[in-house]
């Protein structure tokens, strides 16, 4: 059984923090197929958060195919996080490095590059944020 933690200063929505912690636990092997997640009641008894927040996180995980709720029994792990293909990761790393080199060559400083990166990141993921 895993235990959730909350980072109140992160600015990340509470349900999203729970989702990310399950992802992380799956990646690290702390959670495996068939393992049970804490019940909503157990989570709220520890974190003092709204039970609907836990249910929303579990519904998201269920939609991703990672867990399934069995009525009256609990929520169980039914899938694993697909690790990104190492070749794909290497390709994007090379692209990014190339881009950064040309940005530096063009005279952009670290702050400029960070501002551009953050703007692009926000614009790209804007639709996904509730």
């Amino acid at each position: 059984m895993i235990e959730f933690q909350l980072d109140e200063t992160s600015g990340v929505a509470t349900y999203m923090q729970l989702v990310q912690q399950v992802h992380q636990a799956l990646r690290l092997g702390l959670l495996e197929l068939g393992d049970q997640l804490p019940t909503a009641q157990q989570v709220v008894a520890k974190l003092a958060i709204n039970p609907n927040t836990v249910l929303k996180a579990y519904r998201d995980l269920e939609r991703e195919g990672l867990v399934r709720a069995r009525p009256g029994r609990g929520t169980f792990v039914t899938g694993s996080v697909p690790g990104t293909d190492p070749a794909t990761q290497a390709r994007f790393l090379a692209d990014m490095t190339g881009w950064l080199r040309s940005a530096r060559a063009a005279g952009l400083g670290l702050d400029d590059i960070e501002a551009i990166y953050r703007t692009a990141l926000r614009d790209t993921f804007a639709e996904g944020v509730a």
Binding site: E8, T14, P51, N52
Partner: protein
């Protein structure tokens, strides 16, 4: 979904002063509602109207589909008044006995179990309990009634952080187990942010905003960009607060449509930003305070 608490044009006047005015609300069932506002805003008045301790001067209020003072209503609504009152000279165990005697739906087993888990001695007089223990006793009494709606007036205001956390843990556990609807007044926004999924901001005896927390956060944005007047915003973007320097404008706006103007830097707002914005907007007599997070 049926409303658990519905008010239309609700008002309460003391002499010439309106403690609550033009209050129109429809809170869906199954929510944990945070009622936020400064002291004297009318939070206690609204809660007292909801439990029938006060009668409205204007408008109507219905709770669980009935008038607050209707027979049988008391058993369905749990109420923990400010400062979590208990009978000081009465031992903890006698509180439970009185609760069992007074409430038809009393869950004796749950009450005993809760007292035991809290480590309270049933022989101890309630007056000698710590603030946190007293609050927990009051919560235990309110929960053992098995209410459909639980109203709490500033339940954690006087508690230390640990007792506050423990109180909210117990409250959320009950919500998870029984699906109880809760209305909780507080001025501790961090607590509200943690436990509430519905927000009501009440200042100067009026409701300034009410709605699902997720919808409110999704529809409010902070914009900053080159200075300009609010008249230049597209229709459908309502300005909640604004501050201007000679070069820059920072606005907190409400809109349901995407912000397309590329001149704005758009930031999401936190629940605290949102509450403070509605509070400072209501306080129109005061000079405009600069919005949070403005880069110089």
């Amino acid at each position: 979904m049926s409303a658990i608490l519905e008010a239309a044009g609700l008002g309460k006047r003391y002499g010439h002063r309106w403690a609550l005015r033009d209050c129109t609300l429809a809170i869906p069932a199954g929510r944990v509602v945070g009622l936020v506002g400064p002291n004297g805003a009318g939070k206690t008045t609204l809660l007292n109207l909801a439990v029938g301790l006060l009668a409205p001067t204007a408008g109507t209020i219905s709770v669980l589909g009935g008038r607050p003072d209707a027979p049988g209503q008391m058993a369905r609504v749990g109420f923990v008044a400010q400062d979590t009152p208990v009978y000081r000279r009465l031992p903890v165990g006698d509180h439970l006995r009185a609760g069992a005697w007074l409430n038809p739906g009393w869950d004796e087993e749950a009450a005993r179990d809760r007292i035991e888990r809290l480590g309270l001695d049933t022989r101890q007089r309630a007056g000698s309990l710590s603030g946190g223990q007293r609050a927990q006793l009051a919560l235990t009494m309110a929960l053992a009634k098995r209410p459909e709606l639980l109203l709490l007036d500033e339940p954690v205001a006087s508690l230390d952080p640990l007792a506050r956390r423990e109180f909210l843990q117990g409250l959320m556990e009950a919500v998870a187990e029984h699906g109880t609807s809760v209305v909780l007044s507080s001025h501790l926004i961090a607590d509200i942010e943690r436990v509430c999924d519905y927000l009501i901001v009440l200042t100067g005896s009026r409701i300034r905003v009410a709605g699902e927390v997720s919808e409110l956060l999704a529809s409010h944005h902070q914009l900053s960009g080159p200075r300009r007047g609010p008249g230049t915003l597209p229709a459908g973007q309502e300005v909640i607060t604004e501050s201007h320097t000679d070069r820059q404008s920072t606005l907190l706006i409400r809109t349901s449509t995407p912000i397309l103007d590329p001149a704005w830097t758009v930031r999401p707002v936190s629940l605290e930003d949102l509450v403070l914005a509605y509070m400072s907007r209501a306080d129109s007599a005061a000079p405009t305070r600069p919005a949070l997070g403005v880069a110089s």
